[in-house]
């Protein structure tokens, strides 16, 4: 949990975490889905949020964003954001790539991106360079795009703004291997300028991107530390994530 045990983390000594979650409890229609979750996300690099299916990864992200009812404290860059409504949190500099993409199917690619632009000078060239395919399809309805292309739109919506933190939920879910690589490359590129909290099931992608990992089990944090510390321990990976062989996970 502490930075000291974290050999591969990149933040300069003394730099505080960008996100500090403490005692976060989330409820959906009155039912507790995560309980007393506490962890930190360093100010640089990728922190992977892991755990078996249904353990509460998505609920953690949605609690941070105020998309579900929550209690506990969430600090972004040292400022409490847990009392803010979702749109204020996002305006404060949080980019969100939801599970299942959630593009606006009836809007065109260009409209999806335009809607997401918050900054006075949105980074359109950066997006065009990262996802050239989207430029060609700017007038196509997002609902008619392939899953991979929809994921590009969803990522682009978050990356078009300067953010202080990205919350990215299972960006490679259900995508073909070639597209998984493309998405991972885009995230790697993004991670050079913004810290990312990444929910991901694909161990290849985690290995390639994550500096630190936080593992949830039963709605609570059961491991937090350097990515290598977890991933090099086959038995632990299997126990905590329920996957046998790192290479077969998808």
């Amino acid at each position: 949990m502490t930075a000291a045990s974290d050999a591969s983390a990149r933040p300069a000594p003394g730099a505080g975490p960008i996100l500090r979650v403490a005692g976060l409890t989330g409820r959906i229609t009155g039912q507790t889905v995560i309980e007393d979750v506490s962890f930190e996300v360093p100010a640089t690099g990728v922190t992977a949020l892991l755990g078996r299916n249904g353990v509460g990864k998505t609920s953690t992200i949605r609690s941070i964003l105020g998309l579900i009812e929550r209690t506990g404290s969430v600090e972004l860059g040292g400022i409490r954001i847990d009392a803010m409504p979702t749109h204020r949190i996002v305006q404060f500099g949080v980019g969100y790539v939801p599970e299942d993409r959630e593009v606006f199917a009836g809007l065109t690619v260009a409209e999806n991106l335009r809607l997401a632009e918050r900054d006075a000078a949105p980074r359109r060239e950066f997006i065009a360079r990262l996802f050239p395919d989207l430029v060609a399809r700017r007038d196509q309805r997002a609902g008619t795009l392939s899953g991979g292309q929809q994921q590009m739109v969803s990522l682009a919506r978050a990356l078009v703004n300067e953010n202080r933190l990205l919350l990215v939920d299972e960006p490679t879910k259900g995508l073909a291997p070639r597209i998984v690589d493309e998405v991972a490359a885009a995230l790697g590129e993004a991670a050079r300028t913004v810290p990312i909290l990444l929910v991901e099931q694909n161990l290849h992608v985690i290995r390639a991107l994550a500096d630190r990992v936080v593992v949830l089990s039963g709605g609570r944090v059961v491991f937090a530390g350097a990515a290598s510390e977890l991933l090099d321990d086959e038995e632990r990976v299997q126990r905590l994530l329920g996957v046998h062989d790192a290479s077969e996970a998808a």
């Binding site: 964003l65 998309l67 409504p85 979702t86 749109h87 996002v90 305006q91 969100y96 939801p98 959630e102 606006f104 199917a105 009836g106 809007l107 409209e111 335009r114 809607l115 997401a116 918050r118 919506r157 703004n161």
Partner: protein, 291 residues
């Protein structure tokens, strides 16, 4: 032939009225999931205040009517926006309470209007041309039908342009699909809630003034009657779909006219049967999203 033409154009005119009410209902439901039973009250108050102002300035002239229309639009927009801001805003996601409150507003406002303007219909004056007829393919069409159709066409065009061309329109279209994701892009979607209420209220307000032209009177129940058909239209068209509301408005009103003429005044019954049929065969309506 001339009867068919007359029924068609009268149906279109009545459909125009339905659309002016249904467009707002549909947008409000589509964006916020609110079934706004108070929508008829927006129409009625606009009809009364439009009439009060118009007749004082220039009764039975185009100037008077134009003024009534402007007053109706403004009153509808303001009353609707206030209803959203002061009442509905506290009740988002609480569908039972919303229904209770808006039904309550509807019932209480009828009583209030009856208290102020009485229980009998008040007959209104209108420009002479509107009381005349124009011959089309042998049918003598009352001219007020053309006014209704033109106004509804303009409103439809205006709303479509607004939705397609403006930032708020973009937010509303996205919000109809997925309100939470709009919020998660850093947009305060509640502001567009108020706006959508105002737009819906403005259309209903214009509808109120035009309804008083079409029926030839204003009454405390003007809105209640139109609201029922507007709801049917909204459901048949597909909750949340503006195009669906436009198409269903015309279909329902034309069907109603034909049934009234050829099936011995069974128009209302036929409309309800049509509603039941649509709900059975295609529960999401003609153009609605899959549930």
């Amino acid at each position: 032939m001339d009867t068919v033409v007359l029924l068609l154009i009268t149906g279109l005119g009545l459909g125009a009225l339905y659309f002016l009410v249904a467009s707002g209902l549909s947008l409000i439901y589509g964006l916020m999931g609110v079934l706004n039973f108070a929508h008829g009250s927006f129409l009625t108050i606009s009809a009364f205040l439009g009439w009060e102002v118009g007749r004082r300035v220039s009764d039975g002239t185009w100037t008077g009517l134009a003024l009534s229309a402007v007053v109706g639009i403004v009153v509808g927009a303001v009353v609707a926006a206030l209803t959203e801001l002061l009442i509905i805003r506290r009740l988002y996601e609480r569908h039972i309470e919303q229904a209770l409150v808006t039904v309550g507003i509807a019932l209480a406002s009828v009583a209030l209007f009856e208290g102020i303007w009485g229980t009998d219909p008040i007959y209104t004056e209108r420009p002479a041309w509107l009381t005349e007829t124009t011959e089309i393919l042998g049918a003598r069409i009352p001219n007020d039908r053309f006014l209704l159709i033109a106004c509804a066409g303009l409103v439809l065009g205006g709303i479509v342009l607004f939705l397609r061309r403006t930032r708020y329109g973009l937010i509303i279209r996205a919000g109809v699909e997925n309100r939470h994701m709009v919020t998660a892009l850093g947009i305060d979607v509640r502001r567009s809630f108020t706006l959508v209420f105002a737009i819906g209220g403005a259309a209903a307000g214009l509808g109120g003034v035009l309804a008083s032209v079409y029926y030839g009177y204003v009454s405390a129940h003007l809105g209640s009657v139109l609201l029922i058909f507007a709801f049917i239209v909204t459901v048949i068209g597909g909750l949340g779909s503006l195009t669906g509301a436009a198409i269903a408005s015309v279909l329902v009103a034309v069907l109603q006219q034909f049934a009234n003429y050829y099936l011995g005044g069974t128009g209302d019954l036929v409309v309800v049967v049509a509603l039941a049929a649509v709900l059975l065969v295609r529960p999401r309506g003609l153009m609605g999203k899959a549930a």
